[in-house]
């Protein structure tokens, strides 16, 4: 679904390849999707004859991040073109610009742009460029805002999903339930796609399932339960057994019988009394519609006094007919306690009525969950198998934006540096190559940035890694394995297939597993080291001294 096919012909240029790359997932991603000042700057560059300069820009991740959004960027440049309507609109809002500029825009595409990028789904660290965009400065300018837009939220929510996966553990099922709380329809589609990339198993969003092939999962709502009044409302009470061999004419009576057996069961010591009949009707009706897939929301009235016995009665009736109920969803209350109590009931019934695997019924929890609440549940102990997460996941509530930016690092082969009072904000100038160095145990040890002209680091060879700004911080490393981080994706990559969403997800999972655990633990993680070569260090600091004004103390 997510793959982009291209020609294998080595001679194909970017422009020709563009026709073979698919459209962006989001139809809003047109060439007009940019900040107004980008057009102003493009005009100023064009006016100054600077549009053919080669600009090199880097967006940076703000901290440990899973990099996502690359495929959408590549689709964006492959489809980058101004329509005549776009041009008319731009002329109307920029009447001061010369006509020749608009003629230039009419002819503009991204065939002359090169994009080097870390593969999507990679774990990345501050300072190392995620992407390098080279090309005519006016065009690169127009790509800045859409690229930052396409990468920022994608990387943020993928990282958030990966963190949820990390805290929940590998064995749990994670469901994305964010559609209602995302930023409009496409915000929701992006959320579903990137949560899956970051390690979720399924989404409730049908359109995302359709677009990306993400597995769909969900159950009914409280409204469904309260829409029923009594068991009399079910018109057709018959249910065929799973093997088709017989028909139960009155499934509702079978459910009632089971409810009575549960109420009278010795092993439950009569804990269950009367249950809510409208809830029972809703469950029975839902089971008649989905006998192979019965998952009930059990907290509309009272989980332990009504939801659980009603669910068990319907599940056991289904079992009589050869079906296996899926489980329950808890959406309120003390999830640790309720899941443990529910599990006890399931296990007791498994023994009491000799129903194999009834004790292993899936328990899903879903009330305003986030990293912290899952961590707290783990500490208390719980019996939840599956977490449904919405608001906190898709809005990235705890950090609603990622500080990913574009920096100009070189123009006309001249390096540029952006200075700042805050050392952390100083950009690393010039066109660079970036490598990840791996140690004996297979963990990545350090990322290193080098000048383009330097020889690549080699496995088994000693290399000096320096802190980009602190003179005294440096270390020798003898890598066991060296990985070059930035690869060419445009115009070369469309000739081969971009990885599928499943493949990117796999890369993300694998990269997180390869990291030393102290780098990704939730509290006080050890910072991963990002370094520069000795040559790049010297270069940065000579440029810095050159550009920074000398103050005057008065």
């Amino acid at each position: 679904m997510a793959a982009v096919a291209g020609s294998a012909s080595a001679g194909a240029n970017g422009s020709a390849a563009a026709h073979r790359v698919g459209a962006p997932t989001n139809p809003m991603a047109t060439a007009l999707l940019t900040d107004q000042y980008q057009f102003s700057m493009a005009y100023a560059y064009w006016k100054a004859g600077k549009h053919a300069d080669r600009a090199v820009k880097n967006p940076f991740g703000g901290e440990f991040t899973v990099f996502a959004g690359l495929e959408e960027c590549i689709k964006f440049i492959a489809n980058f073109k101004f329509t005549e309507d776009d041009i008319l609109f731009l002329q109307s809002v920029m009447p001061m610009c010369e006509d020749a500029f608009f003629d230039y825009l009419r002819k503009t595409d991204c065939s002359d742009v090169e994009v080097y990028s870390i593969p999507e789904g990679s774990v990345v660290f501050p300072k190392v460029p995620l992407m390098r965009v080279e090309g005519p400065v006016a065009v690169v300018q127009l790509l800045e805002t859409p690229f930052v837009n396409l990468i920022n939220y994608a990387s943020l929510v993928t990282t958030n999903a990966a963190r949820h996966r990390h805290v929940a553990g590998k064995s749990k099922v994670l469901l994305e339930f964010g559609l209602r709380r995302a930023q409009g329809p496409d915000g929701a589609i992006s959320a579903s796609k990137y949560c899956f990339m970051g390690g979720f198993d399924a989404t409730s969003n049908v359109l995302a399932g359709n677009l990306f092939g993400i597995p769909l999962r969900g159950t009914h709502s409280h409204a469904y339960v309260s829409s029923y009044m009594s068991l009399d409302e079910i018109p057709d009470k018959s249910l065929k057994s799973k093997d088709g061999s017989r028909v139960c004419k009155d499934f509702v009576s079978l459910v009632k019988e089971w409810l009575q057996k549960i109420q009278l069961a010795d092993s439950l010591c009569g804990v269950f009394g009367e249950t809510n009949q409208s809830e029972l009707a809703a469950f029975a009706s839902y089971a008649l519609a989905f006998p192979t897939n019965f998952l009930a929301l059990v907290d509309t009235y009272d989980v332990m006094r009504s939801g659980i016995p009603n669910f068990c009665a319907v599940a056991l009736a289904l079992h009589d007919l050869g079906y296996k109920a899926s489980g329950i969803r808890l959406d309120s209350g003390d999830l640790a306690y309720l899941s443990i109590e529910a599990r006890k009931v399931f296990r007791t019934l498994e023994k009491e009525f000799n129903v194999p695997a009834f004790g292993k019924m899936i328990i899903t929890a879903s009330n305003d969950l986030n990293e912290e609440t899952i961590d707290a549940l783990n500490k208390q102990g719980h019996e939840v198998d599956s977490f449904g997460i919405g608001t906190y996941l898709v809005t990235c509530y705890s950090q609603a934006a990622l500080g990913c930016v574009f920096k100009l690092v070189e123009i006309n082969s001249r390096p540029r540096i952006k200075l700042s009072e805050d050392v952390a904000k100083v950009s690393i100038p010039c066109k660079k190559r970036c490598f990840r160095l791996y140690g004996k145990e297979g963990y990545p040890l350090v990322d290193i940035m080098m000048r383009e002209s330097e020889p690549s680091p080699k496995a088994g060879e000693r290399i000096l890694c320096r802190h980009p700004f602190l003179e005294s911080k440096r270390a020798y490393v003898v890598p066991q394995h060296v990985e070059e981080l930035l690869q060419c994706y445009w115009p070369d990559k469309p000739r081969v297939e971009l990885p599928s969403l499943e493949e990117i997800r796999g890369r993300c999972m694998q990269q997180l597993e390869k990291l030393r655990p102290d780098h990704i633990r939730r509290l006080n993680p050890t910072p991963y080291k990002v370094s520069v070569s000795a040559k790049l260090y010297e270069f940065i600091h000579s440029l810095w001294l050159n550009e920074a004004p000398v103050g005057e103390l008065q």
Copy 2:
């Protein structure tokens, strides 16, 4: 642009009207944009023969909110239809459902649905329904998720924008700069639309300007400044005067002359020394491209030592040729201090060189601003005329999601109530009419919900308003003016025009002005009262007693 035209014919039904309503702004808003369990429930309802029941549902706002998203909801239902591809996909993911259900979906549209809503742009309060959706329960079910999606973020960001407007005051210009930080392309488009609705003046997002006619505003970036090295890089240095009467052949020399005059100006006591020449080159080049619209970002190197004198030199050179510079943007540092210092320089130069209005140059500030920082700036005192706000505005950082939900309130003319341990979560059952009662001074006093059968409250007549849950809280009110809140928008409204974005924005501004100031102040606002009629009060409480289980203390 945003208006929806419809026929005036009284006989047109919803289905026919649908063809006259525009497509949703977001092409992602298709009939598949819903949670998977909505289809499961639709099937269960269909299976139980319940799909022709009339369901009435209410979404509630969580607190003081500007209601937005209605137009998109109306467009959604007008275009609600399953394509054959949609049906094939649904069959593939729900293989257990009977074929007749999919035939039912093929025929499904919203011609049998009625939508009553508070007008878009209205100020709303908790408990009062924003919208009532009536129709076959299976269809209403399918609308639940997309409606919540379309209303939640829209209302949240509109409210956020209105709050920023409130704290900034009427006289300031507010610019939305959120494109880079929004949830993908459409999140950004929604943000621009609804920030404008909530009181912003312009956006930097070109596509939003094109789609909605929102004014565009922006300036150049730091990267533009650092892309220049020296004044020699400007190939064409000539500039025609504004009236076209003469041509300055070397604008750059004129700029240099002015810089020297500023450096030597008596009234500035020689505070300005050498400035950064690459910044000066960038400013001069930008002014040559946009002589009528020169707005410079002055903090790339050093605001007071370089940015301000460089800007003034270029602005004064432009003035010589009859142009008027727009102003500066500050994107870092102490915005209060820098804006005051910059203003002093502008005023001094106005007098020194007798340049009328030079002291009134627009000062825009834009570094991670939000309600709190604007409030803090106001308390310190500042000279900022215009605020550019991005991240905190569009991500709604301080509360990234609105708790707006759908509640089933009636089915088959039988009222339904959702109980909860938390009284604030108990729903107000049954189909209701809602009124806003205004006092003598023109302020709204209280909102009241009544049963449908009750006579409307009338101006000048005494009416008892009761707290929905607390027995002792009640008050008599004699309204000067009564406004019915819920109006029919579908299928009736498409026959007339839906209001334009400008009109909705106007409504929002007007509604906020009409509120008693203590309801909207930032700290400890007085809660606005929401009440029920005596009859509805009795009804709620009898239903509650009836549904709530009687506990047993053991």
